[in-house]
């Protein structure tokens, strides 16, 4: 089981200076741009035992730290 703190720490590593709240919007607001999201994908697949397919790489799954956590947990179960 992963915690929201782990996800937020990874976001902070990818985007220094950003300290998002669990439900903070990240994509539409432009807080994470495409380069940040690709870095985050690499970090997530490196850190956890998951594969992110093109179909998982969608806005809903990256909208907030909470959404990212939900995706990670779902992919780990698969």
């Amino acid at each position: 089981m992963h915690t929201i703190e782990e996800i937020i720490a990874m976001i902070e590593e990818v985007k220094p200076g950003l300290h998002p709240a669990p439900e903070e919007e990240l994509v539409k607001s432009g807080k994470l741009d495409s380069v940040d999201i690709m870095s985050l994908v690499m970090a997530l697949t490196g850190e956890f035992d998951i594969e992110i397919t093109p179909l998982d790489l969608k806005e809903e799954n990256f909208r907030t730290p909470q959404a990212i956590l939900a995706m990670v947990q779902r992919l780990e179960e698969e």
Partner: protein, 501 residues
Amino acid sequence: MHHILELLDRTAGAQPRSAGFCDETTALTWQQAARWVYGVGTALDALPGGVLHRPVGVYMERGAAALTAMLGVLAAGGFYTVLDTAQPPERVRAILDQLEPAALLTDAAHADAARSLAGPIPVLDCQTAAAVPPDDARMTALRQAVLDTDLAYVLFTSGSTGLPKGVAVTHRNVLAYSEWVVSTFGFSPDTVLGNQTPFYFSMSVTDLYGALRSGACLQVLPRRLFSFPVQLLEYLCARKVNTLYWVPSALGIVANWKALDYTAAPPLHTILFAGEVMPTAKLNYWRAHYPQARFANLYGPTETTDICAYYELDRAFRDDESLPIGRACENCGLLVLCGDRPAARDEAGELCVRGSFVAAGYYRQPDKTAQRFVPNPVQTAYPETIYRTGDLVRTNERGELVYCGRLDNQIKHMGYRIEPGEIETAAFGQDKLDDCACVYDAARDKLVLFFQAKRDVTEALRARLAGRLPAYMQPAEYRRLRQMPHNANGKVDRKALTAML
């Protein structure tokens, strides 16, 4: 025709109710677009002193409204500069200091930032301005006061010394260039262009003025979708986009994720790219999915409006072969010079451009203008200005121009002159490799290849390059990155890579 907005009037008259400028939340018909443009023009003209022959900054979200703001400045007889709202305020201020604009146009989301940047400069809300009833008599009078040699816009590019350079482009430049692009690629009222590039980047000139001249619909694609390739393709389908003109990195995102294998293919028939070298492996992925589409590699700096040479794909290329930049556009002349003399056959030289696409020069920078916009050294019978691009090219056996890199990027290593692009092209055939860029570590006299890949392919790359390149071109170091850095235009950021050394 002498004024860009004659294109708008013609299109809005011929097809008033067809879609003109669209983004995620706004869809303007050509008639509505024209109404907004002349509203903005009338509002700007009502400012004390008006804006005739004066610059106006556009500081707002990339979208349909921003397009009408830009054209609205032209309606008022002025010329525009599009400012990047994501840039640090100091850089925007440096541009405003050079430009001294008569006004700033903004939107609700950026109004506070615009006001704090503007100081005493008047700030107009674009939406309010667009709703002003157009003053037709004034619009006509202002149009007559503008010559085709007057400026339409100034686009700022990053100068190597840090001070941004403003490329000053005239109505005539845009009219000549847009005529070429529309006739060459057959843009028509059936064309739906999917805009990827920001409006402060010269590639957007093709999208905007290509649409204006042909009556094509311009769909401004949401920037965030370039993080989500499958959703990006779904959006292209939903908006019926059939023509793309993107930077290769943006096309590469779709290829890296093989996104076309996961969703219905958008109805694309024309795929154009420019701005950096297109990795052939990425292009081959697209070509496999669109065997019937037209593909073309376009080349040009902001100083030639957008494009001066192009190559339309007419044959297959292996993943490790590079694409030529082809031949001069119609009504555009290209010279390959070594110093002041024409390059010999097979000799690489600096590409220089003559003709109507060549911009007026750098705004308020006579010294920099004089360095790059120079008298033609080959034809001296009468004065003629050519633009020295600083790009190295040579002619291949087919008579096509081949890009060999920047004059100032060229690496001198072990006594050889090396083009980083040649090393990158050789690397790009590697399986699982998403992106790469070669930089020279001057302090340690070493070539370093940065790469992005789904797994560590260092050894495979080393073996691959050993079989394809001479010893002096072998990178001494391979560095895997989670993500290749890109600048605001979407191109690989070589300065950021150099900073990592």
